[in-house]
Symmetry: C2
Subunit: 174 residues, 2 copies
Amino acid sequence: MSEVSDIGDGDWELWRGFVMMRRQLDRALEQRLQADAGISGPDFEILLPLFRTPENQLRARDLAELLGWEKSRVSHQVTRMAARGLVERRECPTDLRGSWITLTADGRRAVLKASRGNATELRRLFFDLLTDEEKIVLAAASQRVVDAASPDSCRRADEILSGVDRDADTLAAS
Amino acid sequence: MSEVSDIGDGDWELWRGFVMMRRQLDRALEQRLQADAGISGPDFEILLPLFRTPENQLRARDLAELLGWEKSRVSHQVTRMAARGLVERRECPTDLRGSWITLTADGRRAVLKASRGNATELRRLFFDLLTDEEKIVLAAASQRVVDAASPDSCRRADEILSGVDRDADTLAAS
DNA sequence: CCGGTTTCGATGACGCGTCATCCATTATGC
DNA sequence: GCATAATGGATGACGCGTCATCGAAACCGG
């Protein structure tokens, strides 16, 4: 019989810790944003690039690429945020298909209220807990995973997994 | 005007890569599950403990604690899965408030079809990309972050950030 | 036994995220 | 110039996840 799994116990342990870290981190940051500025994480992700850009406005398309979001996600998010007055949609004169997303005064206020707490929390729960060496390791690992998981390499996955879907009776243990 | 925080460029770079890694990883695993067994990540998280348990059934409460989910999340998820025939709800004789969640034959088939590809993808996109040293670093870092973000330490965060004028925020919010 | 409290779980509302679809505009090839 | 594709973006449907609320059953101190 084959192994219980081709993933070792130590690796499962690592994965579990990794998932937990993400969950806790996201939860803490989200709560801080909500308490400080009444906005969500996705709200802040949109607001920050708008705030940093000279004219406080970006094309939806650029926003999508900047954040790695799908276009439809940007559109939905902007719709919700526009309803709350954090951003505004404007037509694009040079490309009539396009639309500019611009920061409103309320949006600017929200960024300012959110930034301090967000940065502090990020430092407290992440950056301050890592040594410089660990940061380098993490950055390198992240890059490798991103490269491996990028659409280009998905075909490779299909090849690897193209065999029979033999039963995986790999789960009875814990 | 471009400075909104005390976090260095290198750290922002790290954070961005980290976020990207999580997104890509989740997306790839999700797609693999969908292609192999027609189920989602949350579906799989529910099915796996049910599969591993001797009687193939668990109390909703235990499922919640096992996964670290809220009870309402379990309830919603089970409702959706029951509608697709992956699990069944049954009344609990010994505690009339409770309910057993049981694995159906379809649910069992789904687990079997999903497990292999999920493990392979996890290895390809994560474990195989990390050296043993990197795994140790990552595990240690994860543990540190989890400890820092655990509910116990949340009060410490409030103290640290208590200098902010949070009163004005609440007034402007609603 | 009885009234308060806690636990179990379902439910509705709402924001998030993806997918499929659609339409208008712009780019491209003949 | 014109047909055809490609792009930018909006929209609806649907699953995911949280929060607040609810009712019912169990627990617990008198």
